[in-house]
Structures are given as structure tokens and as C-alpha cells.
């Protein structure tokens, strides 16, 4: 995928992972989760090699929405995030799972609809459920694969704000894969840009510039800012960076 990539994510920071499709963003997620070993090199999560089922990682996989027919309550889903990997039925640990889920649901403001079927919730509500699920237990890292891509602009802003607030309160490190940097711009500390087999890390101001991105893509691209401060990267069409044009 990429080579000579050396970077560290500061504990307690909010980092956006950006880059065109197929650049290896999801590969990075799978490596952090311990589901894929790097073909060469080394990766550490809080000083340890990644392993499956790491309780220090709260994970939100990439998914459009849940099946509307999925008949399980949001609360059950969050409880499964707590102890769903254990065998058997929940007996003695039931109270603990319920309390952990309740605290997590309250932290994201989703306790009001936690009794409703997951499939019937709106996209924004489902994303909050996924966040509650990721927060349950004691994670130190929030790993999110495109949690904003299937939301409208208003929900995107609300979810980002929520992630930022929760992460600050709990001192969590956030690694968020995104397609569009704009809803994130005012909240993130760092950008990890992956493209053309290269990885660049820095503050948004350092990375999202015409010079740096042209260097990363090895082709001239231009970063344009509009009057409201939104950022657009132009000139990637020939790079086939955007699948739909």
C-alpha cells in the first residue's frame, strides 16, 4: 500500500485520516485492530503490538445504515459492545453491562431512543448508537471509519461536535477516517494524509496546502478556499482519486 511511512498519533489528540479511495485508509484501520499484519515494518497501539479484541480501542466500522428490519434495541446493541465477545448468556454480569451501556448512552445523548429498534432509527441516531457502543467500557482510542459519510451536513456537524466533546471529557485519542475535511476542520488537531503510496502528517494548515498535496500526489493539485473557509482540493481528476468524477 504505502512505504516509508513513519508517524505517531499523539495521545489525546483528534486526527483526521484523509486520502483518495484505495489509498489504504481502511487497511490502516484493519492493522490497528490487529486483523491484518503489516507486510513490513512495525505498528504499535499504546506501546504494544495490535491484537484482536483490544479493549483499549472503541471502533465504529464503515457502514451506510442498519437494515430497517433489524429488530434489536439500541440498548442491546450497546450492551453487546460491552460484553458481546463473551460466551454464554449474560447472568451475573447483567447489571454491570446495563449500567455501562446506560452511562455510554447518556454520554452521547442517545438514552431517549435506546429502547427503539436499531433499524428504525435515523442515520444520525444510528451513528450516535455506534458511538455509544464504541465508548462503552474503557477505550482510550476511538477508531472511526467514515462515520460522517452517510449523514447530512447538519448531522455531520452535530456528530463531530459530540465526538470532540466526549473525547475531551474522557481524554480519548481520536482517529477518524473522512472523505471531506470540511465538517472536521475546526475540531481536528492533525491530519494524516494518505495518497499515492505516501503518508504525510501534520496540522491541517501544514498539510492541506497546494505545495504539500502536490508533493504527496506527485502531480499538481490546488487547494482552494472559499469565502466561508471551506477547503477544496482541485486537479485530482486525472488521478482517478474520486471514483465518481
Amino acid at each position: 500500500m504505502w512505504s516509508r511511512a513513519a508517524f505517531g498519533i499523539e495521545a489525546g489528540s483528534f486526527t483526521a485520516v484523509l486520502g483518495p479511495n484505495g489509498s489504504g485508509k481502511t487497511t490502516l484501520v484493519r492493522m490497528i485492530l490487529g486483523r491484518l499484519a503489516p507486510s513490513a515494518g512495525r505498528l504499535e497501539v499504546f506501546g504494544r503490538p495490535p491484537h484482536r479484541g483490544d479493549p483499549t480501542i472503541g471502533y465504529i466500522p464503515q457502514r451506510p445504515v442498519f437494515d430497517p428490519e433489524l429488530s434489536i434495541r439500541g440498548r442491546d446493541f450497546v450492551e453487546l459492545g460491552y460484553d458481546g465477545h463473551r460466551w454464554g448468556v449474560r447472568l451475573a454480569g447483567r447489571r454491570r453491562a446495563e449500567e455501562a451501556a446506560k452511562a455510554s448512552l447518556e454520554a452521547v445523548g442517545a438514552d431517549g431512543y435506546a429502547g427503539q429498534p436499531l433499524g428504525r432509527l435515523s442515520g444520525g441516531e444510528q451513528q450516535r448508537m455506534l458511538l455509544a457502543q464504541a465508548l462503552v467500557g474503557t477505550p482510550r482510542l476511538l477508531l472511526m471509519d467514515e462515520p460522517l459519510s452517510y449523514l447530512d451536513v447538519r448531522n455531520q456537524r452535530a456528530v463531530v461536535q459530540l465526538i470532540r466533546d466526549v473525547a475531551r471529557r474522557r481524554q480519548l485519542t481520536v482517529l477518524l477516517i473522512a472523505h471531506d475535511i470540511n465538517p472536521l476542520l475546526e475540531h481536528i488537531d492533525h491530519v494524516l494524509y494518505i495518497a499515492s503510496g505516501k503518508v504525510a502528517m501534520g496540522t491541517p494548515g501544514e498539510i492541506i496546502t497546494t505545495e504539500r498535496l502536490s508533493e504527496i500526489y506527485s502531480s499538481p493539485v490546488e487547494v482552494v478556499r472559499d469565502s466561508r473557509g471551506r477547503v477544496f482540493v482541485v486537479g485530482l481528476e486525472e488521478e482517478a482519486s474520486h471514483p465518481h468524477g
Binding site: 480501542i57 471502533y59 466500522p61 442498519f66 433489524l70 442491546d76 465477545h85 460466551w87 427503539q116
Partner: protein
Amino acid sequence: MVDAALHLTIANPTPSWNPFDDLAMLFHYDFMVHAFQAGTIVAIVAGAIGYFVVLRGSSFAAHALSHIGFAGAAGAVVAGLSPVVGLLAFTLGSGTAIGALGNRLRGRDVTIGIVLAWTLGLGVLFISLYRGYATEAYALLFGEILGISERDVVVTLVAGVTTLVALVIVYRPLLFASVDEELAGAKGVPVTALSIVFMAILAVAVTEAVQVVGVLLIFALIVTPAAIAIRFTSHPPYAIGIGVGLALVFTWLGLSIAYFSPHPVSFFITSLAFATYLLVRLSEPVRRALR
């Protein structure tokens, strides 16, 4: 001949208005007692596993298992073995294969359908090879609950308890993987192994259920009760409870009605299941308005 004459006289008793007399009549004969015993075990297992079948969207796989099992059963009869042996071997084999394909693989249903069509063809061949085929085939296709022996009941009980215990052991991770396989996998749940184990449990459950409702009518006990239950609650243990309860009611009522009528048990069980499902779906707008 004596058997047949006896069967005729007991096949059409008339119910009285005294429910105690009716119940006494119902349980007067061993074959009815056995039918109720086996039916109860099968209904509990089918209702419980049906919840996961519906939640995972595996109802086609469940259906296919029973049909593939039919070929196995017919083959076993030709080979002079018990049909249950062939049924179990084929459902277990195909179940683990389907499980290994994964739960959300695109095109899985097409693959299952292709294998299913071929094994049904095999089944037809086996039936034609076996001479006195009509009754055996009929029993496999539509169930033969009134012909269950005491030994069959014991075998069903052992198989039923085994499947329930297995289901309890895998309950939480299976629920997790059924809701979100990717997430469960990241949390350390062995999703592929679990998918195989689930299909193996389902294979045993299907083999049991075939005795009651037959290969063609398996949906009525495995899928319909669970499909109704999830329309009432999205709380998993409640949904499983309602599913088991409905499967029991369909089986018990079906057996009782069939006892006092000349028509087959399978017809009543499947009709009760269908009518209930229809009623629940049609009453949904009304119930929503009342809420």
C-alpha cells in the same frame, strides 16, 4: 390390515363440549402422546433458533438445508439406512459449507440455490430407485408426526437438548455477529467459526423439525414464529420467548385439530402459522394508530 382398520376408527373422533373429556381422548393413544412430546421439543428448538435465522437473514439457507437434507434422507432409504441418518449427514455437510461461505457474502443465495436444485434432482433419483417409495417420500416431504415411536421421542429429546445447550453457549457472540459482523470480529469474536457452528446447530434443528412438518413445510416452525415475534418486540430474549410460545401453540393446536379431523397435521400447523402472520401484518396499521 388390522392396523389400518384401527387407524380408521380412531382417526375421526368427534369432540365433545367438555374440554377435559377431549383432552383425555387426545392423550388416550400412545401415538398422540408421542406426537405431543416430539412436537413440543421440536417447537421449542425451532422457535428459539428461528430468532437467529430471521435476525441473520438466513431463512433461505434454513429452507435450503431442509431440501438438501431431503436428498440425504432419500439416499439413506435407498441404502437401507434410517432416513434421519441421511438427513442429518446432508444438512450438517451443507450447513457447515454454507456457514463457511460467510453471512454477508454477496451471491451466497445464488450458490445455495444452485446446490439446492442439484440435490433435489438427486433426491428425485433416489426416490425412483427405491421401490415402495410413496409413503417414505411423502413422510419426508410433509412430516409424519403421528408415526413417531417412543425411541424417536428420546432421540428427538437428546438432539433438542443438545441444540439448546449449544445455542445458549454461543448466544451472546452469535447475537453480536448477527447484528454487526465487522464489529463483532474487531472485538475478537471468531465470526466465521461462529457462522459454521450456527449452521451446524441449525442443521440438527432442521433435521428434528422435518419429522414434524416435513421438508417442504419447515418455514412454518422455524421462520414464521420468529418473524411474528420480532414484529412485537425488539428485545432479544422476549422475541425468543414469543417465538417459542407461538411455535408451541401452532404445534399443539395443529395436533389437536388434526386429531378430530381427517386432514393432515402439517396442514393445520402451517395454516395456523400463516393465519397468525397474516393477522399480525394486517393489524399493524391499526396497532400503530392506537399507540
